[in-house]
């Protein structure tokens, strides 16, 4: 196609011809790009001179002619718009200048809006959090080399978390078109190679039409369970080429793939096991993508009068329901005659116990327990990174999306259940109501221990926070790498009865997830009118604290409460354990794990990025008033941070 063969440099040196034959509806900039500015503002915003650019980055690029009306990256923006991608999380880079410019000018910086980040790892983590809060995939934009290397950790977290994400990379494949040394450093033959082991699909299209088709195809692949990130390279030549005509270009319609449902015959068999069981247990992990997922799980559990252990990668079961039995996980598994795993990645780990000291393992369940597994894990996996987990031999393994399969499973259970069986199962409800009340009371008693301690107990941190947010439409958008770091207090004592009120954790265990994922989720919740709360571990915070600036800059309301135990506390414990095992003493476990001397002043860090903050708070009596003040700030639509010095766990 002639119009697509226009060389970028030639295009930049001549006047472009307006296109009037777009094959698709286009969205134009909301405001003219060159509106008149006051003289002082104009000076402040003036671009660097050619000499400055040459000094900073090597050879300067010629400027676009003022009359340019259509170019490759404009078309790319139109492609992205058809997919209703709300946000592109990014920090600027020369390999995607064309696309960046088209987003903010041609596209009107809306759907997608460019969210300014301070690190590509933050960009990808924000996109992860945004999806989990909104259910809508977001995109990141970064250099194919230096940007993607930064983003790779957060992409791995998204991979382990089964989160769809569209990573768009800038690259200049044609080496004769690279402007200087930086363009060479920022180019690769195969940019996606470094993340191919933990992304679902990638492509490097060499024409605009191929870009359109790959973008839609990639989106479809990414959002088909098991949902995973994909990578698409936007070649700089394609971005910056003139589009004399859009003749011959079209954007394919997205035809989403319906999530797969488990086989009906296998579900009937599973239902027979479940109905016949005297002590069935349901384990649920990445099950509930939507409110419907939670509703269906409750329906299944109530139909069987079976307890549910929520493994909390998503909020699957309301913590207020009497069949929510996380506190009895081990006991229930040990006594079970049938265990149903719904979207459980580490099924082996749930039914076996591993002893870290001598590397031995033993079953948690009794011999003869029937095991049923429903999920999409077996439908797509890669071999190098080991997130597929240890093989679990089960009696019935059903490939299908859990949430999609639940209605058919519930129907099968109802069909398999006689009226007599229904009557005989009814007394279980009372047993679990009593157990639920005991669990709750035990947790309340446990929370009271160390209540007045300083450093402040994690129970007090969580319950003082809960006390003040529970009347709001709240969401705990992040707890960092694990809720275990705060002894699972929210799941033990908070009333979490909406699927969006808890979004899981950094699934790959990659540190630096907590804050940026929270900011991404809070951006989604801002539009939904929900108050976002982030309990933020200090070690995790220091990996990606620039995300606070993003929250301040984009006016993203988010309450961050620091769980500041002044250590990589998990590692302190593990180092102490291995040193003790080797009989070498335990007093050196803080070397390399403590974050003290000097103590980090997180409130000052936040202030420096334009975020309201208080702390460090060491007296537990000061905590509740500080939370109240911070909530006042968040209600004004702004981020706030409270630094709380806490117990290790």
């Amino acid at each position: 196609m002639a119009s697509q063969n226009v060389d970028r440099r030639n295009f930049l040196s001549k006047v472009a011809v307006a296109s009037s034959a777009a094959a698709i509806p286009t969205v134009h900039a909301a405001e003219p790009a060159n509106k008149t500015l006051p003289a002082t503002e104009a000076r402040r915003l003036a671009p660097p001179s050619v000499a400055q650019l040459a000094a900073d980055t090597g050879e300067a690029r010629p400027q676009l002619p003022a009359s340019a009306t259509d170019c490759g990256s404009d078309f790319m923006v139109d492609v992205i718009k058809t997919l209703n991608i709300d946000y592109i999380f990014s920090n600027p880079g020369s390999s995607f200048l064309g696309l960046h410019e088209s987003i903010v000018n041609y596209g009107g910086n809306k759907s997608p809006e460019f969210i300014t980040c301070m690190h590509e790892e933050s960009s990808a983590a924000m996109a992860n959090g945004y999806y989990k809060a909104s259910g809508r995939p977001a995109s990141i934009l970064c250099h194919g080399t230096v940007g993607l290397q930064h983003a790779s950790m957060a992409l791995y977290n998204a991979w382990c978390d089964r989160v769809p994400l569209i990573a768009i990379l800038g690259n200049t494949l044609d080496s004769t078109k690279r402007a200087g040394a930086n363009d060479w450093r920022h180019s690769a033959q195969d940019p996606a190679a470094i993340v191919r082991d933990f992304t679902k699909w990638d492509d490097q299209p060499i024409s605009l039409q191929a870009f359109a088709e790959s973008m839609v195809q990639g989106y479809k692949i990414s959002t088909t369970p098991p949902m995973e990130p994909i990578v698409l390279v936007a070649d700089s030549q394609l971005q910056e080429m003139e589009l004399v005509s859009r003749s011959g270009l079209s954007i394919p319609k997205l035809s989403p793939t319906l999530p797969p449902q488990g086989d009906a015959g296998a579900l009937r068999e599973a239902a027979q096991f479940l109905v016949a069981a005297e002590r069935p247990v349901i384990l649920a992990d990445r099950l509930a993508r939507t409110a419907e997922g939670m509703r269906l799980l409750v329906q299944l559990a109530e139909t069987l009068n079976a307890p549910v252990v929520d493994l909390t990668s998503r909020q699957n079961m309301p913590t207020t329901h009497h069949l929510y039995q996380n506190a009895q996980n081990r006991k229930l598994v040990a006594q079970a005659d049938v265990i149903l795993g719904l979207e459980v990645t580490d099924f082996w780990g749930q039914i076996n116990q591993f002893n870290r000291i001598d590397d031995s393992s033993s079953p948690r369940m009794k011999p003869g327990t029937k095991l049923i597994r429903i999920g999409v894990n077996d439908l797509y996996m890669k071999s190098n990174y080991q997130d597929f987990q240890r093989y679990a031999a089960v009696d019935l393994s059903i490939a299908g999306d859990g949430e999609t399969t639940l209605p058919a499973l519930i129907d099968a259970v109802k069909s398999a259940m006689s009226d007599n069986r229904k009557l005989s199962l009814a007394p279980r409800a009372e047993v679990y109501r009593k157990m639920y009340a005991e669990n709750y009371e035990a947790a309340r008693q446990a929370a009271a221990f160390g209540w007045d301690a300083s450093p402040i107990s994690t129970a007090r941190l969580c319950m003082e926070l809960w006390q003040q947010i529970k009347t709001e439409d709240w969401a705990l958008v992040s707890v960092g790498a694990s809720e275990g770091f705060i002894s699972n207090w929210p799941h033990r004592l908070w009333h979490i009865d909406r699927h969006y009120q808890y979004l899981g954790y950094g699934a790959g265990g990659g540190v630096g997830y907590g804050l940026p994922a929270a900011v991404g989720a809070a951006l989604a919740n801002k539009a939904l009118g929900r108050m976002s709360v982030n309990i933020q571990c200090d070690g995790d915070f220091m990996y990606a604290n620039g995300a606070l600036w993003t929250a301040a800059h984009h006016r993203i309301p988010l309450l961050t409460v620091m769980h500041n135990n002044r250590a990589y506390a998990q590692e302190t414990m593990l180092l102490q354990g291995i040193a003790n095992q080797r009989n070498r003493g335990v007093t050196t476990a803080k070397i390399g794990t403590a974050i003290e001397d000097p103590n980090i002043d997180y409130a000052k860090l936040a202030h420096g990025m334009g975020v309201w903050a208080e702390g460090p708070i060491t007296d537990p009596k000061d905590l509740a008033p500080a939370i109240k003040r911070a909530i006042g700030v968040v209600k004004q639509g702004l981020p706030a941070l409270i630094d709380v010095v806490t117990q290790s766990r």
């Binding site: 409750v298 309301p318 207020t320 329901h321 009497h322 002893n355 870290r356 000291i357 109501r433 639920y436 009340a437 709750y440 009371e441 309340r444 008693q445 446990a446 929370a447 009271a448 221990f449 160390g450 209540w451 301690a453 450093p455 107990s457 994690t458 129970a459 007090r460 319950m463 003082e464 809960w466 006390q467 529970k470 275990g484 770091f485 705060i486 002894s487 699972n488 004592l493 009333h495 009865d497 506390a569 302190t572 414990m573 102490q576 354990g577 291995i578 003790n580 095992q581 009989n583 003493g585 335990v586 007093t587 476990a589 803080k590 509740a624 117990q647 290790s648 766990r649």
Partner: protein, 126 residues
């Protein structure tokens, strides 16, 4: 007082003090126990007040008898590796037990507003 009586009295006082100190060192000490509890890192998993956490059992208030604590520390096969005499002496364990025994009973959750109100909002069935 003649000088020699004064010296004798001072010597007697010194002897008495050193004897008392020696006796105190053999007796479990709450202060020493707290220092050891912090120094050897018990607090990482069990909390500074022995309140327990997701990583370690509650130890206080109402700790196990010293002998039971010692037995557990020496022979545990749980996640926590056993502590040998080389790492933690019997007298240090006794000091830790004394510290744990000194921790006062927790307040009732009903007396704590942030915990009391939780129970009032329990919705056991949807």
């Amino acid at each position: 007082m003649p000088q020699r009586y004064a010296l004798a009295a001072a010597a007697l006082t010194l002897w008495a003090c050193s004897t008392i100190a020696a006796a105190d060192e053999t007796k479990p000490s709450v202060a020493r126990g707290r220092d050891i509890f912090m120094k050897v890192g018990c607090y990482h998993c069990h909390g500074t007040h022995g309140q327990g956490s997701g990583a370690g059992l509650k130890l206080a208030p109402d700790p196990l008898p010293t002998e039971a604590i010692a037995q557990f520390i020496r022979a545990t096969t749980s996640t926590m590796p056993a502590y040998s005499e080389h790492i933690l002496s019997d007298s240090q364990i006794a000091d830790i037990a004394a510290y744990l025994g000194s921790i006062p009973a927790a307040r009732s959750p009903d007396a704590i507003p942030a915990l009391k109100s939780s129970s009032q909002h329990v919705k056991p069935q949807r």
